[in-house]
């Protein structure tokens, strides 16, 4: 750890200590927790913190991936490698499978973001998970800025923003009745920049698409999308090769890349520190639907 003068910690050490505390509280107080792991940078950092929290014992809960089927291959490979190396138990909730069974329907624009919710709830119910750890941060979005670290969900997985449990000091309330659950966000107080500082300080491995690389892309709504099997240019949209990286990793049909030359973690930190656009604003088509898009999705049980 980086020692600061007079027995104080750097902000990264302090955030780490607080998140580790949260992860241990979940393991101690929840009957059957699981950690949501997509292979995205935030869930990787959360998993790294979980490894630290229980070291030298293994992480005492399974990891869950709600798989849209619209994946970046580098990310899926990364997920499988981490799971193998850490000897984790991976549970996959498949959106494709739910579509095939007629449980959910794809939206007209091909996005599977919203229909992840019923698959998430179904998976949680099937395995009886009473707490789900998520990598969401309060700085990402204004509805998330209001959410508790331990966020209570009713038997339908719904968030009621006007009726949240008070959360004081570090005294988290994980109590639920049968059928209800808690979503826990250990990275609540982290910013995008904190995540990158942590990745640098702890030398955390992340998928290659977070760093600048050449890719065949096209422009849509002012954003740069990769030309891949999930996302093809429409008439009038020309493809070209550009040096890009991904700031976020989500459903491949609507996650945009950003133009960037940042090929290593230090360069990414410099870029993130200077950027004037939020990561979701720069890369997610789905948050632009309405002012309260995230709040509405969370009320339905979204991550």
């Amino acid at each position: 750890m980086t020692r600061m003068p007079e027995y104080s910690l750097s902000q990264i050490d302090q955030l780490e200590a607080e998140s580790v505390f949260v992860l241990r509280e979940v393991a101690a107080e929840s009957e059957k927790p699981a950690l949501l792991f997509s292979g995205g940078k935030d869930s990787i950092v959360m998993l790294d913190l979980a490894v630290r929290a229980f070291w030298p014992a293994p992480v005492p809960f399974p990891v869950v991936h709600i798989d849209t089927g619209h994946n970046f291959p580098e990310v899926l490979e990364f997920r499988d490698r981490v799971v193998r190396e850490l000897g984790l138990n991976l549970v996959v909730g498949s959106v494709q499978d739910a579509i095939d069974r007629g449980v959910v329907q794809e939206e007209p624009n091909g996005s599977r973001n919203r229909i992840q919710t019923p698959v998430l709830l179904e998976t949680a119910e099937k395995y009886g998970f009473t707490a789900l750890l998520g990598g969401a941060r309060r700085d990402e979005e204004k509805a998330r800025a209001k959410e508790r670290v331990f966020s209570f969900r009713d038997e339908f997985g719904q968030w009621d923003p006007k009726n949240q449990r008070p959360e004081l000091w570090n005294l988290y309330n994980a109590r639920v009745h049968v059928g209800e659950s808690i979503r826990v966000f250990p990275l609540s107080n982290w910013t995008e920049l904190d995540v990158w500082h942590y990745i640098a300080a702890r030398e955390v491995a992340i998928p290659s698409i977070y760093y600048a690389h050449e890719r065949e892309v096209f422009e849509r709504n002012g954003m740069v999308f990769a030309n891949n099997e999930f996302c093809r240019p429409r008439a009038g949209e020309e493809t070209f090769v550009e040096t890009v990286r991904y700031r976020t990793v989500g459903d491949a049909t609507l996650t945009a890349a950003v133009r960037s030359d940042a090929r290593d973690v230090e360069a990414v930190i410099a870029e993130v520190a200077a950027t004037r656009i939020t990561e979701r604003g720069a890369t997610r088509g789905d948050d632009k639907v309405s002012e309260a898009a995230m709040e509405d999705r969370k009320k339905e049980g979204y991550f």
Binding site: S8, A57, L168, N189
Partner: protein
């Protein structure tokens, strides 16, 4: 870089949202797409100017009604510090939200309008800051531009507030004249108030000394989780995971485990990066002991000659946070450090009027947002310090066992 958490209290009328907007904007923490989005909303609502309150009022109901319902957390950083703002609503019906925001704050900013001076709610905010023992208080006298940057107005409000604050337990009070709208004395010092020789608000936030606010004297380690790998490689490993709540712990220290009272020594303090020479708050570590004792979650590791009280009788100031009132005879669940118990409300000694500080000895219940002195009897002993000595080992929450909702927050004032 150090982390500073601060809470802001005041109503929209006092310019609180403008102040937060100013801090975020001038530290380049508002992003273009966020600004575009609130400009769009302001325009569509027909506002005459871009309403910076929209940055923090994240819920649909808040934007529609133009009010702040809940605590919003905002983040910004300067080259010196990272800041977490707990933006709390100011009205009396949101006392519980302010208590929540203040519980983790290193510093609180109470805003007053220079034209109106100290109001009833300013006194309430100061009282809550002292009750929650936020170590540093800033009284920000805002809208100085509307009183012609008058030193006389500043001095008068400062004197009135200082006199009131003397009745409270406030360790560090700083009074600053500002104009959040014009930016005077927020980030840079004001040319309009040459008579003021103190720092700008941001300079104060960046430099206020917080390292010594932490209790480094009373070693307290609430055991959170027992780590036993059950693997060949770590066959004999048995460690106690937790976050240091006070003091400094070192390998070789003679320690006592409560409530058993058994003593041993610290064998090592472990992290995944390797053993460390010492641990202090708020580090999360794993402690190994020299002897095999029966230690479990909820136990406390401390020093032999410096222990918390082991008690089933707890006197505390309680802030009540739910509609159904607190009454003597009620049974509740308690969470204190990593320890859970059940408690019986034995007595309500008095209720405090949060506006006047008047004590009502005849009170027989605490309603939502009311605060009073309560005596509890717990089923198992708590390992408790006075809240004024340590916020982490002196604070507890009360939970309704039927609904599982957190219904109260307690601050221990006496442990006999």
């Amino acid at each position: 870089m150090e982390l500073l958490r601060f809470a802001t209290a005041g109503s929209v009328d006092d310019g609180k949202s403008t102040l937060i907007g100013r801090l975020l904007y001038d530290s380049k923490s508002i992003f273009n797409d966020q600004l575009d989005s609130i400009e769009e909303t302001s325009r569509s609502r027909g506002d005459a100017y871009t309403d910076l309150a929209l940055l923090t009022d994240g819920l649909r109901a808040e934007r529609e009604q133009g009010i702040t319902i809940d605590v919003a957390y905002r983040y910004f950083a300067t080259p010196r510090r990272k800041f977490i703002i707990a933006d709390t609503p100011g009205h009396i019906q949101y006392t519980r939200n302010m208590v929540t925001g203040a519980s983790t704050a290193d510093l609180a900013i109470v805003l007053v309008d220079a034209r109106k001076g100290i109001q009833e709610q300013s006194r309430r905010h100061a009282f809550l800051v002292s009750l929650l023992r936020v170590p540093h208080l800033v009284l920000a006298i805002n809208k100085m531009d509307l009183v012609d940057w008058s030193q006389e107005v500043y001095e008068q409000i400062k004197d009135e507030f200082t006199n009131f604050a003397a009745k409270l337990d406030i360790a560090d009070l700083t009074v600053l004249p500002i104009s959040a709208l014009k930016g005077d004395n927020v980030v840079t010092r004001s040319a309009n108030m040459p008579w003021f020789e103190g720092p700008s608000l941001l300079h104060h936030l960046e430099n206020v000394h917080i390292a010594s606010d932490r209790n480094l004297v009373d070693a307290r380690f609430p055991v959170q989780y027992v780590i036993r790998p059950h693997q060949d490689r770590h066959h004999d490993f048995r460690g106690y995971a937790g976050q240091v709540a006070g003091g400094i712990l070192k390998p070789g220290d003679e320690v006592m485990v409560l409530p058993s009272g058994l003593t041993t020594r610290i064998a090592s303090i472990e992290t995944k990066d390797g053993p460390v020479a010492e641990a202090f708050a708020p580090m999360s570590v794993v402690i190994r002991l020299e002897d095999e004792l029966d230690v479990s979650r909820g136990d406390m590791i401390c020093r032999v000659h410096n222990q918390p009280q082991v008690t089933q009788d707890v006197e505390a100031m309680v802030c009540w946070m739910t509609e159904r009132p607190l009454v003597p005879g009620q049974k509740l669940a308690v969470k204190h450090t990593t320890r859970s118990a059940r408690a019986l409300v034995k007595r309500l000694s008095y209720r405090v009027d949060v506006n006047t500080l008047h004590r009502d000895d005849a009170a027989d219940s605490l309603a939502l947002n009311q605060i009073g002195r309560v005596r509890l009897r717990t089923t198992t002993p708590l390992l408790a310090d006075e809240y004024r000595r340590n916020r982490l080992t002196g604070g507890f929450i009360l939970v309704d066992e039927a609904t599982n909702v957190t219904v109260g927050a307690g601050m221990i004032i006496d442990t006999d």
